[in-house]
Amino acid sequence: MKYLDEFQDPALARTLLEQIDAVVTRPWAVMEVCGGQTHSIIRHGIDQLLSEQVELIHGPGCPVCVTPLEMVDRALAIAARPGVVFCSFGDMLRVPGSGQDLFSVKARGGDVRVVYSPLDALDVAVDNPDKEVVFFGVGFETTAPANAMAVHQARQRGIANFSMLVSHVLVPPALEAIMTAPSSRVDGFLAAGHVCTVMGTWQYEPLAERFRVPIVVTGFEPLDVLDGIRRCVLQLEGGLGEVENAYPRAVRPEGNRPAQVMLAEVFEVCDRQWRGIGTIPNSGWRLAPDYGDFDAERRFDVVELAVCEPERCRAGEVLQGLIKPDACECFGNDCTPRSPLGAPMVSNEGACAAYYRYRRPGEPVTARRG
């Protein structure tokens, strides 16, 4: 199929693997930032095929995983209220809060609906004028423009029964936090292609320069990922640390300007807590004061909640690339997709879920090259 098969071609993959083999002279640790890339790597077995010199470290780019627990609890509290229709992307529904998840709220009578776009939630609000319709606006820069557009339209169209629970996070501050952490062992990054489709590549120039670290903007199909790794290794072996665009079919250096204008209009930068990691300065977006009327946190007064995170969950270390999911004692026994301790075991993009789904501890699936 056009644009899919071409990027999964085994012969081209072999060529890229050989090129990596030919240049690599020492061990390198490359972090793929986005959970979609992690999923692709594990599903297609890319890490099994790579030179042993190249270690892939899974990054924090899973929006479901890093949404802070108190925000999930706020969502649960709002969704459980009578008269509320709570709209969310599908993979937030199984994320565990302190006590339950959105599926459980739904089973107890909460009106929780899966939507595919925040604009669908606006339609729900128009169709249900006697209900308060809340959209759970989570994610990185990728999902933010559509969320911003929904709030903008709600104000323009005077849809007063719509509000958004906003928990957006930003990639560049997270990369900075990873690079400045004493425990960091990242030599190079595969930046998240879809985030850069919106924001461009210019945001990453100062990071590459400051830390002298290669940042290769990378797509999601197997050949995209392999090409990203190849370019990253080439830079590392050549002593370079530059921003490079390996996903030019989707990413322009300046990004999507109209989307950026919309984002600047509706959101403002704030400190944001990342689940399992902690607060990272200037790493999130919240609604700008002009749009405060559409802030679900204010409308429902759920600002202060006591949260309870399972102590044994090592999601934070997984999200920072400090351990692989299967190094956690709970992986696969106390923590499975059916009864997750932490969010990375839930989402399609969570590293723990990818490992659980496509790998098993002690299972005989082993690397086969070629």
Binding site: Q8, P10, L49, D91, S104, P337, Y358, G370
Partner: protein
Amino acid sequence: MPPITGTDAPVSRSLPVVDDLGREDGAGGGAGWSCPVPLRDHDRIVLGHGGGGLLSSELIEHLFLPAFGDAARWATPTDAHVLDLGHDTRIAFSTDTYVVRPLFFPGGDIGELAVNGTVNDLAMRGARPVALSTGFVLEEGLEMEVLGRVATSMGRAARRAGAQLVTGDTKVVEQGHGDGLYVNTAGIGLVPEGVDIQPDRARPGDAVIVSGPIGLHGIAVLSVREGLEFGTDLCSDTVALHGLVATMLAACPDLHVLRDPTRGGLAASLCEIADTAGVGIELEERSIPVPDEVRAACGFLGLDAMDLANEGKLVAIVPHGSVDDVLAAMGATDEGRAATVIGRVTEEHPRLVVARTGLGATRVVDRPLGEQLPRIC
């Protein structure tokens, strides 16, 4: 007439013994029903319990079977149970309930689905369908015209399958308590002499055959239910498979296993076979037929085609020596024209399904948990 006999259920052997009040042995205490083995994490039914994945299996294993106790001794982890009536007569018996929304979708409707689905459940034991029952739960306010169309469709599907609709029941619930209509069908079919198709017969060396492209029903229903446009008109593949099965049996009377990969998709069916037979299954990912439109929709929504429901496909575990004959026979039918080998049964990694990826690595194929959740981005 000799007594009707069933086979003892492999699934119930390891279950706790439960007395008439639903108490585990030695537990004593309260009267009435109590959850014999707590369903971890859920004190209420969630949507995923009906998704045909792991949660559904757990509900059966941890709630229904212990609660039914001795009365479910014959229950088998198959789509239909085969009862031996003596005098060389065996009947397959099955039931299924249909709650699809919308009622009409590209390629079919709930009525056709309800007949074909039960016919297929019977066919997966090699049975020829004979008689079906129809049970309707109607919502107050449903248009007669809609019910008429559904009923007409059921009659047409039953005629095509050569089965009679012999008994039925209708109930009406108040407005707001149902999605227009729900249908239950139960059916019986006759199992030809010498046919013994069941999941635990998968043997190392057997081939895994799928009868055609997967994922069509799942994406067709999802796209109309959620109003998603994929720039193409995907149709459900709903069709009765008893004719295809009869053709396959003529080519190879010793077919080992048949499953129709409905809810939970190919992944759930193969995982259940591996689990029941205690064997491993190795798939060649690139040989699994996934239509371009399905692949595109899956990429877009973050779904896996192997988890998607099919309503007109079967997966067959076939003795190695009969593969060519079975494929040739399937290829001569409408329902099996695109049949192909997708993998093999192995004695390695028992109870695990693995796939060799397009790039030449290997990965585990797991059954979906419950509902499929489209990802954020």
